[in-house]
Amino acid sequence: MTAPRHRLPPPQGLADRLLGAAASAAVLAIVGVFAWLLADLLRHGLGGLSWHFLMAPVEAAGRAGGIAPILVSTLAILAICLAAALPIGLGTAILLAELGDANSRFGRFVRRCLDILAGMPSIVFGLFGNAFFSLVLGLGFSLLAGGLTLACMVLPLFIREAEEGLRAVPQEQRLAAAALGLGRWRMLWLVVLPAAAPGLFVGLVLAVGRALAETAALLFTSGYVDRMPGSLLDSGRALSIHIYDLSMNVPGGEANAYTAALVLVALLLAINSAAAWLAGRLGRARWQVA
């Protein structure tokens, strides 16, 4: 049972009434703008949404046709991003949460680095990805370069969630495992990771959401090419870049930009709701969406 909320004294006097009015106005403004945005997307975007739109190739620079190659590229970038971020992120989370390194000098250093990484503007990731993955590692403008850049970006978010998931595993379970003579690795693999799986999954879902929403970091890493990618070293256009390109660089692309934006928002709302629902089932009251 949650503790009952604290009740404030009933409103009295001018100041309280002004505060109440201002609060109501703020809430109405926020909810109103949210409704406006969603309604606008639905009104202009829903008409173009069809099976054909999702399955057809891009035509006339996006004014016609669908977004099939865009979706494929987006999925490929996401897959690469997760494949790179999961093992590194999980390893770091294990170090911070399980191996008692959280307060060592190294642990504190890692945490500080991650905090800075979490605040870094996405365009800076784009610059870095272009210089490092595309040029130095010779990946060029490719799905691989884009996915790896995004992996760097979602890493702090995933690590924070994974660490929280690991910490939520009751200490008794570890003690019980240790009492059975299990080593650290066995304990982790057989007891802690299965128990922490839901929390890790929340982290994964949030990371996908963050990667899916990203645009600026992909501009000079995965590029603009709107054909169906043949390999991971081909350039491919992510959904968010498609929206940007249609609205800024393609006269007459607005209608399809609306539909693509609707698809992206629907995907993100679904993903974030899933994460919120999962986190709620894990008993965590509130989490920060990055």
Binding site: M1, R5, H6, R7, L8, P9, P10
Partner: protein, 318 residues
């Protein structure tokens, strides 16, 4: 808790009051006219035929058939009864202690007296609760004005995370003391009252959180007094303090006799004996807190009428 013979005994009840304390206490009891009859409720069999029948000072608080229910779940409708049908008169400008085991509704009772129970979702207080003949439980009653007349000090010192000065200024400003010089004068006076002025006069603008636990509690008492209330409620004000600070705070409260009406919840029976003029004993009956017996402290401790009271204070006597 079904045992009626041996109630849980608080850990720090052993110390007996010093002899001069006892005599002082007896004197103070003597000074209350008709004190024997004042605190009795119906169902209390302590009526002493020898006691003078008249009550010439009206009580500060007249409590009749007061009950408090917590409604845990909105659906179920039935709730947990914190205390039931309490009848009690609290004499003006005296110290009244509420004693009894944990969970018998003492703190809920205390928070009803300034309607702090309003803040708890699902908490309902019924009955009559009169100050100067006015029922303060009436929904239309001005709660802010009530809380200005009835101050409260809590178990854990809870100074606001502001400067010492600001802690005291906040209630003063709120209640319309606009004049800066007057505020400063009242802050100094009240800090002198609680014996804190010498300790903090040079650091009024430092954070109140930098004070020690005992100092924080005295600041909280000062904060309750700065509005010049008539009644001050103390909810186990010493139990979170070390013995030394606890003694300081206790002496402070004892010094309020004749100035304020004090109601204090305490688990420390020795403390109740030392400082209280009157004592009311609560016990859990059928899952609800009930006022078992009340009367002048010396009488209640030395000649308890009810077997529960006897068992409880005997535990204290050891």
């Amino acid at each position: 808790m079904t045992s009626q013979t041996h109630p849980a005994r608080p850990s720090d009840t052993a110390t007996d009051p010093a002899p001069d304390e006892v005599s002082r206490r007896l004197r103070s009891v003597d000074t209350v006219p008709g004190s024997d009859g004042v605190l009795c409720g119906p169902g209390c069999d302590c009526s002493d035929p020898a006691a003078p029948p008249a009550v010439d000072t009206p009580p500060a608080l007249r409590i009749r058939d007061l009950s408090c229910t917590y409604c845990a779940a909105r659906v179920s409708g039935e709730g947990h009864v914190a205390y039931r049908a309490v009848d009690l008169d609290i004499p003006a400008r005296r110290i009244t202690a509420l004693i009894g085991p944990s969970g018998c509704g003492k703190t809920s009772f205390l928070s009803s007296l300034n309607r702090l129970t309003d803040l708890i979702d699902g908490c309902r207080v019924t009955g009559r609760l009169e100050i100067d003949g006015v029922d303060i439980l009436a929904p239309a009653h001005d709660v802010v004005a009530l809380r200005r007349r009835v101050g409260m000090v809590f178990q854990k010192p809870n100074p606001f995370p502001l400067s010492i000065r600001r802690n005291l200024e906040l209630p003063l400003r709120e209640h319309g003391v606009r004049n800066r010089a007057e505020r400063a004068a009242r802050i100094e006076a009240v800090l002198r009252d609680v014996g804190l002025w010498r300790e903090v006069e040079h650091r009024l603008d430092r954070s109140a959180l930098a004070l020690s636990g005992g100092q924080q509690q005295r600041l909280c008492i000062a904060r309750a007094l700065v509005l010049e209330p008539e009644i001050v409620l103390f909810d186990e004000p010493c139990s979170a303090l070390d013995p030394l600070s606890s003694g300081v705070v206790e002496d402070l409260i004892a010094s309020f006799r004749e100035r304020f009406t004090v109601v204090i919840v305490t688990h420390n029976l020795a403390q109740a004996r030392r400082i209280a003029d009157h004592t009311a004993f609560f016990w859990l009956v059928d899952g609800a807190g009930t006022l078992v017996e009340s009367g002048p402290t010396a009488a209640l401790f030395d000649h308890p009428h009810h077997p529960l009271t006897r068992a409880y204070v005997d535990g204290a006597r050891g």
